[in-house]
Structures are given as C-alpha cells and as structure tokens.
C-alpha cells in the first residue's frame, strides 16, 4: 500500500515548537516538538502514534496552522504544496491561512466535540464553516450536507440539534463531517474516533479512507491506538518525547519494528482475553521541560548502553521508507513478540 512514488504534499524540516511561559517571573519552556523532519505524500494516510503527552497534538497543531501562544515555532518549516500554491504554515500570516482552511487544509481537533459552539445548532455551524468554501446555497447546500452526514450514519435531525443534545460519539462524527464535507486536500485528524463504539469506529475509519481515496487526499491521523493505525495507515511515525523516533510502512512497523519503543507499543496492546497485565514500561514518561540527554528513551530502554546516555541517535534510513533513531536498531528484533503474555486469544 505504500506509494513512495507519489508527490510530496508536505515537507516538515527541523521543526521545533515550544511552549514558552512565564509564571510569576519564572520562565518555563516545554519542548513539545523538538526537531522533527518528515515528509507526507499525496494520497496517503500517515499515522502518528506515541504515548500521552509525547507531543503529538503539539506537532499537528503546527501542521494545522493552529499555533497559539504559548506555543511558538522556534525553528524549522512546514511547507505544503497545495493546488492553490505553496505555503509554509509555520510562518504564514492569518490571511494566508484563512485562504487554505477547510478547502485545502482541515483539522479535526482532539476533544473537538467541545469545539462545537454550544449555543448554535449544528446546521448553523455547517453554514458558518462550509457554505463559503463549497460555494453552494439553500437546498443545494443542505442536500450536500445531509448526504454527507448520512455517510457518517447521522440522520438529518442532527442539523437541528444543539451540541448538548447529541451523544459524545455523535458529536465526534459531526466534527468529522465538518472537516471532510469540503473535500480538502489535506486532512489532519487528532484522535477522531476515540469516543466511538467499535462498530461505528470501523465505519468512520473506512469512511475517512474512502474519502481520502476518492479525492486522492492526504490524511494525517493521530492516535495512541495502535490497532487503528494497523488498519488505516499506509505509513506510521512514532513520536517519543517530542521527537520522531521511527517511521516506516505500516506492516514493517508492526512486524519488524526497529526501535525498542515501537516494539514495546506493539507488544503492549491489550486484547480481549487478557487476564494479566501486559508488561508496562519501566519508569515515568519524560519531562519535556527537562528531557533526558542523549537518546531520550534511554532511562526506559531495555537495550540502553553507555553511548545512548551521551549521544543523540540520528534518524537514519535503514530500508525502503523506513527510518529509525536508535544506536542498536539491529538488536531490536528479539524484543518483538517476546513480551506478550499468552492470554487466550479472542
């Protein structure tokens, strides 16, 4: 499913984005995105995984041109190559961003259910956001929206509802509807299916895939849920402590990961039938205000050696489309599958 011959639509280079705060005279800096270089292509789904507070949302806020203080881009670029022309969203003006929003670039925020305006009916929100980019009016606009909602398994009634009258999962589908109704070139979705039951989740995921294929669009899909990536992504990138530590074709990432952290993520996935806890990582997640020296994973890494504590491993290419940042990537293989306890499989 990899399409490495497809044209690049987004090129991120050396991106650093920090939260810079001042509390009562004390400076604090959270280095949530710390030197990420990555390329995304037309017509692919790129999955971003990583533990809570690793910087996934911060990273894609930059990609989505939703950078608000105290988050600041400190270095690097994020250049899109849209049909309407190139734009570096890390440095674009609000007007330039406004011009691409919804039509070319759309963003489904994490916890986006709460983003819906509580005193506006859903139908009004659709008008606010989608009417102008779609260039449709009245009945024509309405029928486009209704048809689109139907694909998300939502009845036209939701257009008359206020957000609080819908369940969490219904709201989540509404925001997916908002983000996809204008058929943008690039869709960024942050945990878009976490509040859905597994039946609807699957439907929504295949809908996102369908829309993506139909339009030849690109999707960046952020979730900590590895089983979603397994079934949706063409490529998966793993973020640890603000850095991209491994990236590769989905299959390779699951069956031949080359970073101990990826190996852990894959092995720790709970399954129905587990009566025992799967092995957790030792130690605490890193503090992004004061990340560990050298490889940031070293305090929790089963393979760590002295070098890891001192020198930052570079993200090197080790196979087709496959990059990893680990001094000992050749020794990762034995870690795969050893740690899964033998719960009876569902």
């Amino acid at each position: 499913m990899t399409q490495n011959n497809n044209a690049e639509i987004l090129k991120v280079e050396g991106l650093k984005a920090y939260y810079q705060m001042n509390y009562f005279g004390v400076e604090r800096e959270v280095r949530a995105v710390d030197d990420i270089t990555v390329t995304m292509r037309k017509n692919e789904v790129y999955g971003i995984a990583g533990e809570s507070s690793s910087g996934k949302t911060s990273f894609i806020k930059v990609l989505a041109a939703a950078i608000r203080p105290p988050l600041r881009v400190v270095a690097g670029t994020a250049k899109y190559n849209f049909a309407s022309g190139p734009i570096d969203v890390a440095h674009a003006t609000p007007e330039e961003i406004e011009a691409v929003r919804w039509k070319h670039l759309s963003y489904i925020m994490q916890g986006s259910m709460s983003v819906l305006n509580p005193v506006r009916r859903i139908g009004k929100t659709f008008q606010d956001f989608a009417q102008r980019p779609l260039g449709l009016k009245g009945a024509e606009f309405e029928s486009r929206v209704v048809n689109h909602l139907a694909r998300l398994n939502l009845s036209p009634d939701v257009l008359r509802a206020y957000p609080h009258e819908l369940s969490g999962g219904m709201r989540q589908r509404v925001t997916i509807g908002l983000a996809t109704v204008c058929h943008p070139e690039f869709i960024i979705a942050d945990e878009p299916t976490t509040a859905l039951d597994v039946v609807v989740q699957k439907e929504v995921l295949s809908l996102i895939r369908d829309i993506q294929k139909e339009m030849g669009a690109s999707v960046v899909f952020v979730t900590h849920d590895m089983s979603v990536h397994a079934n949706v992504a063409d490529r998966v990138g793993i973020i640890y402590a603000g850095r991209l530590v491994e990236e590769g074709p989905t299959r390779d990432m699951f069956f031949a990961p080359k970073h101990p952290y990826t190996a852990h993520l894959v092995a720790s996935l709970p399954r129905i039938g587990d009566r025992q806890q799967r092995p957790a990582l030792e130690g605490r997640p890193p503090n992004l205000a004061d990340p560990p020296q050298g490889c940031r994973f070293h305090p929790r890494c089963p393979l760590a050696v002295d070098k890891c504590r001192k020198e930052v491993p570079p993200l090197e290419t080790i196979g087709p489309d496959h990059r990893t940042a680990c001094w000992r990537w050749k020794d990762v293989e034995p870690l795969v599958n050893v740690s899964a306890p033998s719960g009876e499989m569902a």
Binding site: Q201, F254, G273, Q277, A280
Partner: protein, 304 residues
C-alpha cells in the same frame, strides 16, 4: 444483600423541539440492575454510541430525572431536587469522572483550583495544608503530583494528563461509588492499563464500586465483574463479563466483538464488516423483545 444502587425500570425520553416539529428520543428504555453494598464490583456498560450510557450515568448521578422508574442509592431515592445539604452528602458518596476531560475542566481555571474547590467542599476545611495534602494524595493515586499540576491550565496538559486529574478530583471525598464515563478513551495503552488497574485497586483495596462506561472491550474483559451491553436505549445482554465477552449471544453483542480492530493484518487496510452480522444486529433496533435468563446466568434480549 443490601443494595448500594438499585436502578428500577428506568427510562428517559428527550424531546428535541425544533422549527420543523418535535422529535422524541428514547435515550434509555426500561433499564434495571443493582449493585450490592457488600461486594464492591466493577460494573461495566458497553454499547453503541448514542445508546444511552451517559444518560443512564447522569440519572444515577441525579443530574437528570428519569421519565419513569426510579433509582435508589442505599435505599434512598436519588433526587435531583433534594436540598443542598442532602445533595452534597449524596455527592460525597457518588462521584463522576466524565467522558471528555477537555469539557470537564473550565479552560480559564487552573486545574488545582478545580481540585481545591472539591477538597474544600468535601473535607469541609479551609486549612491549606490539609487541602494540599488531600490533593497531592489523590494526584499520586493517578500517577501525578501536586507539584506537576500546580499553576497549569487545562490546555497546558495533554489529554491523558487531564483525564488523570479528573479521576484524582473524583477520588478526593473517598466515595464508595465512582461513575467513570469513558475514563480511558483519551489515553494510550500503558496509561490505560494503569488507570484500569487503579480502578481495580480502588475496588479491591478501598471497596469502591465502579460503574465503568467504555468502548474498550479488552479492558472491560480485564477488570469487570459484570457488564451490560446497550443498543439504542435498551440493555440487550447482561451478565458475567467474561462469559458474555467470550461468547456473546445477542446479535449486537456479537457484532461488537467482531468489530474490534486487530493488528494481525496490520497494513492490509481491512475495515470491512460482515454485512450479515450488521443486518442481524440492526434487526433488533427499536424492538422491545424481552430479557430472558440463560442457564449460565446471563440475560439476553430475545424477540418473538
């Protein structure tokens, strides 16, 4: 057995008024179950999105009146309109953790303020040291500390951190019943395990009963004693969690289990669902049927 919680034939109907006429939603239809006071358990609610799980939780919390039926907590009717003192006493015993941590916290208020007001209210003290200790203890139980949280606003935390703060807040009054509405949907696999293990230890060590609402069948299997599965407002299957999840009987329950994404075919893009299973599950939507008991103890909704 004395009951901690008794949900008796509870239904909830919403009327959505609109320009184009009214529409009613039967969010919960005739739900009944009870939790024992002697043996604390994790009672799990799984179900369709929009099937009434949150509505049921809100009724148990006395945030919403049932349209019919009643809910008793320790034999006393849960009453949204009770006096202030009585409400406070009730809240001391039954605490919520809500679905979306981004909604649960006021974005303009520092997180510790939120914890602090809960502590002040329930511990009935103004002593700063006592309040700080209670906050720190509660935060430690969820793997955080007051030091880490102090001075932070909700948007300065990740989803997972925020959800742990929400659980910490609920733990402050040491309630015997916790109602956790999708407490783990925002967090990664290892944190998810640490949170469900936390719920487990609350049950085993502190004798707290937990109503655990989730879409995650793996953790439901791992920690629940009993569970119910809901479809469009109705309980369609109820029983011992492992019995039900190992061999679900109702067509919707079976569809649910079959839809869990697996990583076995990672990279193959498999997102199809067996249409026959979907049809069978949809067939029961809106039909009353009848809950009957099976020899293995579970209850299943069957249709004539």
């Amino acid at each position: 057995m004395t009951t901690l919680l008794d949900v008796r034939d509870v239904s909830k109907r919403f009327t959505m008024g609109g320009l184009f006429g009214r529409r009613v939603v039967d969010a919960v239809v005739d739900a009944s179950f009870s939790l024992s006071a002697e043996s604390p358990e994790i009672f799990t609610i799984i179900g369709e999105s929009g099937s009434g799980k949150t509505t049921l939780a809100r009724m148990i919390l006395g945030l919403e009146d049932p349209t019919s039926g009643e809910i008793l907590f320790r034999g006393k009717k849960v009453d949204r309109h009770a006096g202030r003192a009585e409400r406070l006493d009730f809240m001391r015993h039954v605490q919520p953790v809500f679905q979306n941590p981004f909604e649960a916290f006021n974005p303009l208020k520092q997180i510790e303020r939120y914890l602090e007001s809960t502590a002040r209210r329930f511990l009935d003290t103004g002593d700063k040291a006592v309040i700080d200790r209670a906050m720190d203890e509660a935060l430690q139980k969820v793997g955080l500390s007051l030091k880490e949280v102090r001075g932070r606003f909700p948007h300065e935390m990740s989803g997972g951190q925020l959800q742990r703060c929400a659980i910490a807040r609920a733990l402050i009054p040491n309630p015997p019943l916790l109602i956790a509405d999708e407490p783990v949907s925002m967090v990664d696999a290892s944190l998810r395990m640490s949170i469900v293990n936390l719920l487990k230890s609350l049950r085993d060590d502190l004798k707290v009963s937990v109503i655990y609402i989730t879409h995650d069948l793996a953790t439901a299997y791992y920690i629940s004693n009993r569970l119910i599965i809901m479809q469009r407002g109705r309980i369609v299957e109820m029983g011992d969690a492992r019995t039900v999840l190992e061999h679900p009987e109702h067509p919707y329950s079976r569809l649910l289990k079959a839809s869990v994404l697996s990583t076995d075919d990672a990279g193959a893009g498999k997102l199809g669902t067996d249409p026959a299973m979907l049809d069978q599950a949809n067939d029961s939507v809106g039909r009353a049927g009848e809950l009957v008991q099976r020899p293995d103890g579970r209850h299943v909704r069957v249709y004539a």
